[in-house]
């Protein structure tokens, strides 16, 4: 394969990893944030955690693989983004750490204070992760101060990444939080039984309003803060429109108690939004707000042709295997979760 084809292929592969991560871990984060609010009694909280208990760790690996693949295929993208977004990523890591440990530890001690503390750590960790991912992606689309040497320049020389907390970044972050919350509520409606399921359904109606309002705001802001008009045109094409439509359709599914379709429509919204993001970026991977020539692209940020070829072969062999066994686990654990203590694990 030609060098350019390989570079494009790896851009697409990394995009797929991020899309998979948003789709899968999106509902995990949503479930995590809803945990202390939706679950009143201990067994309710345990049932909520058990809906994602067997899969959250595997879902998180999509993020790790996206990171590893970026390092291998586009070292400059990895280096610029990870050092540039230093403090948000640090907080994201703290979020993932406190959340991951809490799933495993919360039920291993019967003390209610212990459990409550870990439940809140799950919620706060999930919130931090969702907020910071959304903020980071919005800033990627908007452009960040990258100099001629591909380095993120600190605007104040004091704290590197304070500049990411701009209005557009925050809109992106909050939108991601609400969409993930909605995704999580739909997932819970699908996986739970009885009263708890009805509570999840009720909250998904409210969350829909917040998600729809913020997504609309993000859509408008995207026309103001990014180069979407010149890049995709005022009419951005079928994918973003379908993405928005999918989100708006969700409420009719929720109202008709078609939770499967509600879940699918939000999932479609998340996937299509991510595709829009990567289409907007391509072939750039990091937009420089200082000078368009200093942007990182798949061409100037990539590994050598040899490395990309080797990695392509490895991916070709192992990605289908991973997808097969991960898909199989979802099939294995497809049953609804009840609050019956005997069936609960975490």
């Amino acid at each position: 394969m030609s060098y350019e084809t390989l570079q494009t292929l790896w851009f697409i592969l990394i995009a797929i990893l991020w899309i998979g991560f948003y789709f899968l871990e999106g509902f995990d984060f949503g479930v995590g944030m809803l945990l202390p609010f939706l679950g009143k009694k201990d067994e309710e909280r345990r049932a909520i955690i058990n809906t994602i208990g067997s899969v959250w760790d595997g879902n998180e690996v999509w993020l790790l693989t996206a990171g590893g693949a970026t390092f291998a295929a586009f070292p400059h993208w990895y280096a610029t983004m990870f050092s540039g977004f230093y403090l948000p990523l640090f907080l994201l890591l703290v979020g993932l750490i406190i959340r991951g440990i809490s799933f495993e530890y919360r039920s291993k001690d019967p003390n209610p204070a212990w459990r409550n503390r870990f439940d809140w750590m799950i919620a706060v960790g999930s919130f931090l992760a969702a907020l910071l991912l959304g903020t980071a992606f919005a800033n990627l689309a908007k452009g960040v101060p990258i100099d001629a040497n591909m380095n993120y320049v600190s605007p104040n020389g004091f704290v590197t990444t304070l500049g990411l907390l701009n209005p557009y970044g925050l809109i992106g972050g909050l939108t991601t939080v609400t969409v993930f919350l909605l995704h999580g509520a739909n997932f819970l409606t699908l996986k739970l039984e009885g009263e708890l399921r009805e509570r999840a359904r009720a909250i998904s109606k409210k969350l829909y309003l917040a998600a729809a309002a913020l997504t609309t705001l993000l859509l408008i802001a995207t026309y103001i803060y990014t180069d979407i008009r010149t890049k995709l045109g005022v009419n951005p094409g079928i994918i973003p429109i379908a993405s928005y439509a999918a989100l708006l359709l969700t409420i009719s599914f929720i109202n008709r108690k078609m939770e499967g379709w509600a879940f699918i429509s939000v999932a479609a919204h998340i996937v299509l939004t991510q595709i829009t993001f990567f289409t907007l970026m391509f072939p750039r991977v990091m937009v420089s707000s200082l000078n368009p020539d200093w942007s990182l692209t798949i061409y100037n940020a990539s590994s050598s042709q040899y490395t990309l070829t080797v990695m392509s072969i490895v991916a070709l062999i192992f990605v289908p295997i991973v997808l097969a066994y991960q898909g199989w686990t979802y099939y294995m654990f497809r049953k609804r979760i009840s609050t019956d203590k005997k069936t609960l694990i975490y």
């Binding site: 760790d57 595997g58 590893g68 990870f82 230093y86 440990i101 001690d109 019967p110 590197t160």
Partner: protein, 462 residues
């Protein structure tokens, strides 16, 4: 402190912390898989209880290894962006393969193992714990191949135009003897760490005459593995030493505080240096042993620090190429001493348990405290390996001072360094609390999926 120093401290702290938990994951997984297999074959309930009990400790430990591992994958880019740019073409590949091959496998099948009992066929449930053990050991292999490349770069060319190292031979990268020696040493230490945990916890219960049958079986299994793997550690270590002398002579000489080239060379048991750390004041030495360690021959010449320093200055330009010798020298001696102790202890207890005299031994009550020893050895080994490579981040190619992210401020680094320290400290408290509680509570508490069922037992020793 300047950003480089802060970044180095942060990398050191987060990495050593991460590696506190990894060896037990690497080793204990195999034990649990074996115990569960024995139950599957024999239907002997004791084996099931063993698998559950040690499996519980495995899970408590595993969780911390996983969450601190995420930091490892991110911090190359976050704190060492120039390093990432320079080596990404090579170093990124094994990391990506590690995620794809190992992380997915261990995390997915761990989910199946925890949640699958009674829900998936028994054979699948059994296979899943084997896949978890295999996955975590795969992960070790790939990260050690990556680290092996930093110690001994192979299969690359320098692309001057792009200012970076580029991969030209993937097979050289995955066949790097350095990486495979590390792997051999690391899985041995993982098994030995697990063995000494099992020995210590079992000793605690045997002394108290609780579940004696179960814990004697566990103990016996562990002393066999402990003996074999601590011998294997020495063999691996000796092989690594010789290869180190070939590929990283400065590290070798600094580990031995071997200042002047000599033939034959003596091995220092204890050396006291002066305050500058560059001169020897007093030492106690074994004649000719260093020659043997370097080249399996009691007469060969072993180059000393001063000669190698002169050679490196000629090769790489002026600079200090000597690692912090007080660290390399003493970490090696800690590791060796503990290694000797582990061989002796496991051989002694193997002898006792074969002759059924275990309960009479007054040494048994010391074994719970000895659980900490492999941890100190593991830590020492990595500090030696990484600090012995200084000032290089990639041996001979890139120095640490040129590898750091140029855009980070001191404040950035203080925030993250303090943040990690607080979070990691809290994790350690929770982890040790749970480990101790479940280890003391014994197999009855672990038989239940949640502690709700038997809170009294689990809380018994608090």
């Amino acid at each position: 402190m300047d950003p480089i120093t802060l970044s180095r401290w942060q990398f050191g702290l987060t990495t050593v912390y991460h590696f506190l938990f990894v060896p037990l994951t690497l080793g204990l997984g195999w034990f649990v898989a074996y115990m569960q297999t024995r139950y599957y074959q024999t239907r002997d309930e004791t084996f099931l209880k063993m698998a559950k009990f040690w499996g519980k400790l495995f899970l408590i430990n595993f969780a911390i290894g996983v969450v601190t591992g995420i930091v490892q994958e991110f911090q190359f880019g976050m704190n060492w962006s120039e390093y990432s740019r320079y080596v990404g073409d090579i170093f990124g590949a094994p990391l990506a393969v590690e995620a794809l091959l190992a992380f997915f496998m261990e995390s997915t099948f761990l989910g199946v193992w925890i949640f699958g009992e009674g829900r998936v066929p028994e054979k699948v449930h059994l296979a899943s714990i084997w896949l978890v053990a295999l996955g975590s050991n795969f992960s070790a292999l790939w990260i050690l191949l990556a680290n092996g490349w930093m110690q001994h770069p192979v299969g690359y060319v320098i692309n001057e135009a792009k200012g970076r190292a580029e991969l030209v031979d993937f097979f050289a990268l995955i066949a790097n003897p350095k990486g495979w020696m590390f792997f051999w040493h690391t899985i041995s230490s993982g098994l030995a760490t697990a063995a000494f945990l099992i020995i210590g916890v079992s000793a605690y219960h045997i002394i108290r005459k609780q579940n004696v049958d179960l814990f004697k079986r566990s103990f016996q299994m562990a002393v066999v593995v402990g003996l074999v793997t601590s011998l294997s550690l020495f063999l691996a270590g000796h092989t690594m030493g010789q290869y180190m002398y070939e590929t990283q002579p400065m590290k070798f000489a600094s580990v031995e505080a071997h200042w002047e080239t000599s033939a034959p060379a003596d091995f220092s048991i204890i050396t006291i240096g002066d305050l500058s750390g560059k001169r020897e004041v007093w030492s106690w030495r074994l004649p000719r042993v260093l020659s043997f360690l370097a080249c399996n021959n009691f007469d060969c010449e072993v180059r000393g620090v001063n000669d190698i320093q002169a050679e490196y200055e000629a090769l790489y330009g002026p600079g200090d190429y000597i690692p912090l010798m007080v660290v390399t020298y003493w970490t090696f001696r800690f590791m060796m001493t503990i290694g000797f102790f582990m061989i002796a202890a496991s051989a002694y207890f193997l002898y006792l348990s074969l002759n059924d005299k275990l309960e009479k031994s007054k040494w048994l009550r010391w074994m719970p405290a000895m659980i900490s020893l492999p941890y100190i050895a593991n830590m020492s080994g990595w500090i030696l390996t990484e600090m012995g490579r200084q000032p290089w981040i990639v041996q001979g190619l890139l120095k640490v001072e040129d590898a750091v992210s140029p855009n980070l401020t001191t404040l950035d680094l203080w925030i993250s360094l303090i943040g990690y320290t607080v979070v990691y400290g809290a994790l350690a408290v929770a982890m040790v609390k749970l480990m101790t509680k479940y280890a003391k509570a014994g197999p009855d508490a672990a038989m239940h999926e949640s502690v709700d069922v038997v809170p009294a037992l689990v809380g018994a020793d608090d």
